[in-house]
């Protein structure tokens, strides 16, 4: 027993020494971060022990934070830029009218145009707030079980009229029912945004297909299956590298710049799909774009109980 004591002491001393060194390094890095420098990493000692593990974990955390900061920075820049454009238009219209309008009619036209631009600013703000609100995740409490088929049909009915108006046909293949878990109104908004794109980027005479099905769960799966919803068009389509960026706020592909839009529709879709634990896939439809939304159906309490009984 007595010979164990000095060992314990030296072991304790070693650990304290090790922690002190790590804490010193962390302190140095965090001091740099406080000043906005995320590039300061904790150096690895290089002998692959716990100290390096700690350093690696902290460095990974720093990289994550740094990436998020970059996203915030880029997003703020994009927001500022995309809000400036309509504000600039409104401003020059008003100033122009103030300086050069000769008649009341000219003044009123300019003012009405400016109001339209400001409404556009409002709708951008609304969409951004909505994305932030969805990403915060609070609305998951409003999730219910519902049948996706009538929810889909309602939205399709709303947009089919618009499509037909532009000579576009929407072909629908839906099963009799589709069990779904989520926020009905919100999910409908996601579908509406995707449909809106499909119509907007389709030529007259084009066809859009809407297809949904239930995929049964894999063995040992964590859910009760997946709802697979595909909306595909034969429009202008997207290049692979644009698809990767399509859900970024304000992203609009080069070849569609002349078509109206704020580049926020798919950001909203992405946020809603993620809130539902699902995934959004964009693919080439040769020609056109195919958008697939896979949403897992979580275990119901009832099915859990029956599982136990089995």
């Amino acid at each position: 027993m007595p010979q164990l004591k000095p060992n314990l002491y030296s072991f304790g001393w070693m650990i304290r020494e090790m922690f002190q060194r790590i804490i010193h390094l962390i302190h140095k890095s965090t001091a740099a971060i406080t000043h906005g420098d995320f590039s300061q990493h904790i150096p690895l000692i290089g002998n692959g022990d716990e100290r390096d593990d700690v350093a690696i974990a902290i460095n990974a955390m720093l990289d994550g934070a740094s990436q998020q900061m970059d996203t915030v920075r880029q997003t703020s820049n994009a927001i500022a830029h995309d809000l400036r454009a309509p504000i600039a238009r409104a401003r020059s219209q008003l100033e122009d009218a103030a300086l050069y309008a000769h008649t009341e009619a000219e003044l009123r036209t300019a003012i009405n145009h400016a109001v339209e631009q400001l409404d556009h600013v409002t709708s951008i703000c609304d969409a951004l707030l909505r994305i932030a609100q969805i990403e915060a995740g609070g609305r998951r409490s409003a999730f219910t079980r519902f049948d996706l088929v009538p929810a889909l049909q309602d939205i399709l009915e709303l947009y089919t009229a618009v499509a037909e108006d532009r000579g576009i046909t929407i072909e629908t293949t839906l099963p009799a029912t589709l069990p779904f878990h989520g926020d009905r109104a919100m999910f409908q908004q996601a579908i509406a945004n995707v449909l809106d794109n499909a119509i907007k980027f389709s030529p007259s005479g084009g066809t859009i297909t809407c297809f949904a099905r239930f995929m049964p769960p894999q063995p040992h799966s964590e859910n009760d299956g997946t709802i697979e919803l595909t909306i595909a068009d034969h429009g202008i389509g997207m290049m692979a590298e644009d698809m990767a960026n399509a859900t970024k706020r304000f992203f609009r592909a080069e070849q569609t710049r002349h078509i109206s839009g704020s580049g926020l529709g798919l950001s909203v879709v992405q946020a809603i799909v993620h809130l539902h634990g699902g995934q959004l896939h964009l693919a080439n439809n040769n020609p056109g774009l195919s958008v697939r939304i896979d949403t897992p159906l979580p275990h119901t309490k009832i099915s859990k109980i029956t599982d136990i009984h089995r």
Binding site: S123, A127, L129, G138, L158, A161, D165, G265
Partner: protein, 225 residues
């Protein structure tokens, strides 16, 4: 009608008061919650426009709750910069009858205000038939006739027409239609409503002499003889 306007932002208050006065309404104004509360509880109004965030410690929802606790059922339209869905739900739960988010257009506010007051008056007598000019719809059999001629409508077209008829002579905005007929509460990006109105017009106006569905510029639509 007599309107109480509780709003602290002077620009917004003047703008709304002016518009309402121009439309022939009597407007009483309060620029903070305390004044708003004492006016709302001591005098009678046809409708109250209530900003949610007010200075002076008395918040809009507090005024609303106080009124409802006193069994005062005056229709209340909430005005707020809080566009959040949950905020809307909170406002309606507290006893609000409608909710308009800032910034808003005056035509939207006015249309909703008039719909509120009208709804409040009509609630007593349930109707089974609605008519305007030579157009009549039967809410039970879902039959639609114009000048004695039967018109076939899809279920949604019928609901759209019913909504317009219930608001005959009033401006109905696109947002009101989207909420009232489709129960959607988001901005549909494209003007989906215009397309549906134009389809309805094909059926109820096109074959006849004079149109009943009118487009009101910068505002929406109105069904009128």
């Amino acid at each position: 009608m007599r309107v109480l306007l509780v709003e602290d932002d002077q620009t917004v208050r003047n703008f709304v008061a002016k518009g309402l006065a121009e439309a022939g309404h009597l407007v009483e104004q309060a620029e903070d919650g305390k004044n708003g509360l004492s006016l709302a509880t001591s005098e009678k109004f046809d409708v109250i426009i209530l900003d949610r965030m007010l200075p002076g410690g008395v918040e809009g929802l507090h005024i609303l709750k106080t009124l409802r606790n006193q069994n005062n059922t005056t229709p209340v339209l909430l005005l707020s910069a809080l566009a959040d869905v949950d905020e809307k739900v909170a406002g309606l739960k507290a006893g609000g009858d409608d909710y308009v988010t800032k910034p808003f257009s005056f035509s939207e506010l006015q249309a909703r205000l008039e719909a509120l007051v009208r709804r409040n008056r009509n609630e007593a007598q349930p109707q089974t038939r609605l008519t305007i000019g030579d157009l009549e719809i039967d809410l039970l059999s879902r039959n639609v006739k114009r000048a004695g001629q039967k018109i076939e409508l899809q279920p949604r077209e019928f609901r759209l027409l019913e909504f317009l008829m219930r608001h005959a002579g009033q401006v109905v905005t696109r947002t009101m239609l989207l909420e009232g007929v489709w129960d959607y509460h988001f901005d549909p990006q494209t003007n989906v409503i215009d397309v549906h109105i134009s389809r309805l017009r094909q059926k109820i106006d096109r074959p006849f002499h004079h149109p009943l569905v009118h487009t009101i510029r910068n505002a929406g639509y109105m069904l009128q003889e």
